[in-house]
């Protein structure tokens, strides 16, 4: 275990714990920001600078900003999250989802560790060009599927927002 991994793993876990236990909405969102930044640091450590930058730009820079926008639009600084946190239905749903995700992660990690043995990084690993090459040649179908999925979400969003089309 190297010290770099331990520091940022603890930071990510601590941030995640704070996110679900914080009493105020905005500090809770900041906990999530800590998680994103710690994850981005871990990606950097894994020689994947592009993924690390995207983690910050997209998750922390766009998605979380949207979350913060909704918090600021709908809540006031005095409002507490306790009512929602004490709700039993939320807790059960969270537990089921959490167990499911943990199981999925364990299966995934086990599968990957069987597939990959430790070896040298290929030349230019993590370079944006190489990633693009993989996306548009080897994994083109997966890439296009993701695009279609996003397009569907986009059309659904417009449908919901517009009164008449």
């Amino acid at each position: 275990m190297d010290i770099y991994f331990i520091i940022f793993a603890i930071m990510a876990l601590g941030g995640a714990l704070f996110t679900i236990t914080a009493k105020d909405a905005l500090p809770s969102a900041l906990g999530l920001l800590t998680v994103f930044i710690a994850l981005s640091a871990l990606y950097l450590h894994l020689h994947a600078p592009l993924i690390a930058i995207f983690q910050v730009t997209i998750y922390a820079g766009a998605i979380l900003v949207l979350v913060v926008f909704v918090i600021m639009l709908l809540m006031t600084p005095d409002e507490k999250l306790e009512a929602a946190q004490k709700n039993m239905a939320y807790r059960i749903m969270g537990a089921v989802l959490g167990a499911y995700l943990t199981a999925l992660t364990v299966v995934g990690v086990k599968g990957i560790s069987e597939l990959i043995s430790a070896n040298e990084l290929p030349e230019g690993f993590g370079h944006p060009g190489l990633l693009g090459d993989l996306f548009f040649k080897k994994y083109l179908l997966h890439f296009e599927m993701a695009s279609v999925l996003l397009l569907v979400a986009l059309i659904a969003g417009i449908y919901l927002a517009k009164k008449r089309i």
């Binding site: 905005l26 930058i53 820079g61 949207l66 600021m72």
Partner: protein, 346 residues
Amino acid sequence: MDNWVIALIKVVFIWTWTLLIATLMTWVERRGSAMMQDRLGPNRAGPFGLFQPLADGIKLFTKEDIIPEKAHKILFSLGPILFALPAFSAYAVIPFGDKLVVNGKEIILQVADVNVGFLYVVALGAMAVYGIVLGGWGSNNKYSILGGLRSTAQLISYEVPFGLSLLAVVLVYGTFSLREISLAQQGTFLGFLPNWGIFKQPLGFILFIVTAYAEANRVPFDLPEAESEIVAGYHTEYGSMRLGLYLFGEYVNMYTLAALMVTLYFGAWHLPYIDMSKFLGPVSYGIASFLVFFLKTAFFLWLFVWVRWTVPRFRYDQVMGLGWKALIPLALVNLFITALCIQLTV
């Protein structure tokens, strides 16, 4: 060991330089606005009032540091720091000159030439919004919350065309590295124009400059502050050096964005038609490239001031409408045309 010392010198140099320029900009802004409104502006402290920023700094530092009683103490004090920190670190990947050769050792005038160069600038630009949001939320003031809210909405709307216009530049040059983009702008384009990004991406540059003004919260997009409607927005409750950090961070942001404009669209350190490296010595070439780059940047810094005191502020719905209905479709069209041209010429 040697490389570490050089890297340290570069970091310290660009940090001090950025701070110096940001300080000077507060003076340029006040004198510039005075010039445009037929006033004198601050002209008492030192020659032409040049020591005015120093006097302002001393004033801000010696003022009483007040935290409002009902404010959220931690968020309130974190806000200015989270705003200034990304602003101060964003310059690291932008070049400030070509290279300096000292004792046969080549020193590249850039702190870090990373292959994800300007994605880093975009990421840090997006981080600045958290400083504003924390300030707005932590102040426990209606106007401040409105300012923070506007800031988040504006960021989401303008981050997309900002990123898309940058993406078109990536398509043209085929790299994320800002140094490689700068190097590719030497020589001429179509035989008679300087080989600058602006001639390859005219629409892209217009989109970029508009979104850059929105990113920097400058007039006509200074909706989060809007002193005439929401009383300076997110920094209503701030005073002393905490307010100083907010104001200062804005000027540092301006400097970074101006340098980015020069790097991407105005040929970085290249002079049009003249190749300086041919007739200048290695050291004087390094200094000349730095000066050329800085003079171009200075023009765009002045443009920020010029626009601020010329154009009125947009209404909030106009800002959102412009972002979503005009800039994003235009940016997509620009990206499409760029991709088509490259596909046809390669």
